[in-house]
Symmetry: C2
């Protein structure tokens, strides 16, 4: 087994505070002793903060970067910034100096630079962004959340394979159920591309390659109807962000409600721990980490306004995926299905 796992972190180009990132990494390091980090950012600023974290200093290498990719950079700009913190962090992975890359910056840039440098697994056409979505029963894997906005049966099937692998590793279950997101559960509803993908997935399911449930609707995600929710990157992205907005709206209304009278203020005080825990459980700043699957190495994108808890949560997940050899397992899974299809 590999002794250490090295994570390259792109520290620039987002609104996440450097202190939050380092605090989060330090917390994760306490739980995941065999972590090493490569920190891509402003060396002077990193040094000012990192000396507060003794163990973190010992296992981290700082790589000074002046240039970074901003949220507004266009695709053409991104490719030209060869010295940006994001580009160098990704390069360290493609050159095998590290095992995975974590960024808080421009998602499209992380996607296209990873695709170009880390490349996809054999048999996978396009990577997808997957996320762990809280639901009423626990958690599910939802993908694609924006890597690829084209609706195409082939991509939906790839996403089913990738999501199923990820769920089986992260949730430690054997045959994760897969739902295809649609405007109704009935077979005759929705777009042709979805019906075509559904037919293929039914065949796969009949032959026990995958455990396909059928079409599911938007509300089924939070109800935890299936372990994996598959959709295209356009629908998935809007769906994820709508859920984030709804959670924020709920929190804001709740805050206002509790301020409305002395009684509710006392009520809030008494119940504050419980309310805090609900907010944390659904806070996108804590939970929003997009795992880019289907690449030869892991690339993870965290919310652009992450808190230290979100950083440590993401670092924990990456560690667990590396420890479980996620890419080898996914490749094995993909090969296995493809061999079965050839037979």
């Amino acid at each position: 087994m590999k002794k250490y796992f090295t994570l390259s972190i792109d520290l620039l180009g987002s609104e996440t505070k450097l202190k939050d990132i380092l605090t989060g990494l330090n917390q994760s390091l306490l739980r995941n002793l065999n972590y090493k980090f490569r920190l891509y950012g402003h060396a002077e600023e990193i040094k000012k903060i990192i000396h507060n974290f003794k163990r973190l200093s010992e296992v981290s290498e700082i790589i000074n970067c002046e240039s970074y990719i901003s949220m507004d950079d266009k695709p053409s700009d991104i490719l030209n910034k060869k010295n940006s913190s994001m580009f160098l962090a990704i390069k360290s992975v493609s050159e095998k100096s590290s095992d995975a890359v974590l960024s808080f910056g421009n998602t499209g840039a992380l996607m296209s630079l990873s695709l170009l440098n880390i490349k996809t697994l054999k048999g996978i056409k396009r990577p997808a962004i997957a996320s762990i979505w809280p639901n009423i029963k626990g958690e599910s894997i939802v993908l694609d959340l924006g890597a690829n906005t084209k609706l195409d049966p082939r991509y939906l099937i790839d996403n089913s394979i990738l999501g199923s692998s990820l769920a089986s590793i992260l949730f430690k279950i054997k045959n994760p159920s897969i739902g295809l997101l649609n405007v109704g559960a009935e077979e005759y509803k929705g777009k042709d591309e979805l019906k075509a993908a559904s037919d293929t997935l039914k065949d796969f399911s009949k032959n026990h390659y995958l455990n396909y449930y059928g079409f599911i609707e938007g509300n089924d995600i939070s109800m935890g109807k299936t372990n994996v929710v598959v959709t295209d990157g356009f629908t998935g992205n809007i769906s994820l962000k709508t859920a984030e907005g709804t959670a924020k709206l709920f929190q804001s209304h709740l805050n206002d409600a509790f301020k409305s009278s002395i009684l509710t203020k006392i009520g809030y005080f008494l119940a504050s721990l419980a309310i805090r825990s609900v907010k944390d459980r659904l806070d996108p700043r804590v939970h929003n980490c997009g795992i880019m699957v289907g690449l030869n190495s892991l690339a993870v994108k965290c919310h652009g306004q992450s808190e230290y808890r979100g950083v440590s949560y993401a670092a924990d997940i990456i560690y667990s995926l590396l420890e479980n050899n996620v890419n080898d397992k996914i490749q094995h899974y993909v090969d296995d299905i493809q061999n079965k299809l050839v037979e």
Copy 2:
């Protein structure tokens, strides 16, 4: 001005209780004195309940129906059920015996039967389902929520015109701002159909036909970035249902949290009124009413599991739209833009 407004209600084919529907209508009648109702359902059962509501009995005509359209009926079945409560309720509108139709049943059926019998306004190709979505600043109009799953620039532009008319009437504002739902706010992001619609809307906006804001993202809906949110019926349906699921998840976590200890139980008791109000404000059973716009008369679809508050809320909105002559105004708006385009 018209003296009475008659609403035809399809009482069958959903999980909403008859008692909830009649209670809701009765409540709305107290506020909207010039309402009349045509009730399509099982006459015997209606009579058993309605005698509790004196005024409601006086202004209601009961039409006995044995047949109904179920949630699982396929498009072909729907057209054949000429004696179903939904079909007869819609027919009463197309025959001018009533001004609008309200149903709690099969959305697709209500859509296709209305399209066939009530027909679209001149200049509008396909109707859309619009909903009033709560946001942090108040409310916005979101459409299409599932009438038409095809992504086409023409439909997106029609939806912008319809949504803008609806928002100006319901929210009493002059130039409602319109956002086009996309995976990013940047101009180069998203699908070609969206970019084409956006270019046309920009032209419209430059000429003051409409007030187009630009692309918005999923989280902007709940943040109230624009008065109107325009999307295709596929994305809108999944987005709406995802938001519903998230709200339910939040409520469920909150309920669990408050049960966790004696202190939180007391806290809940003290804050219960405030919490109730937040729940109500975001409860899809109260708020989920889909207004089918672009037809010659109003057709409204309520949540299949509505409560009496949801029914009275929907009846209030319908009354307000009828009183404000919504369809004449929309037609005027559409004609106006088309005349400007010809000039």
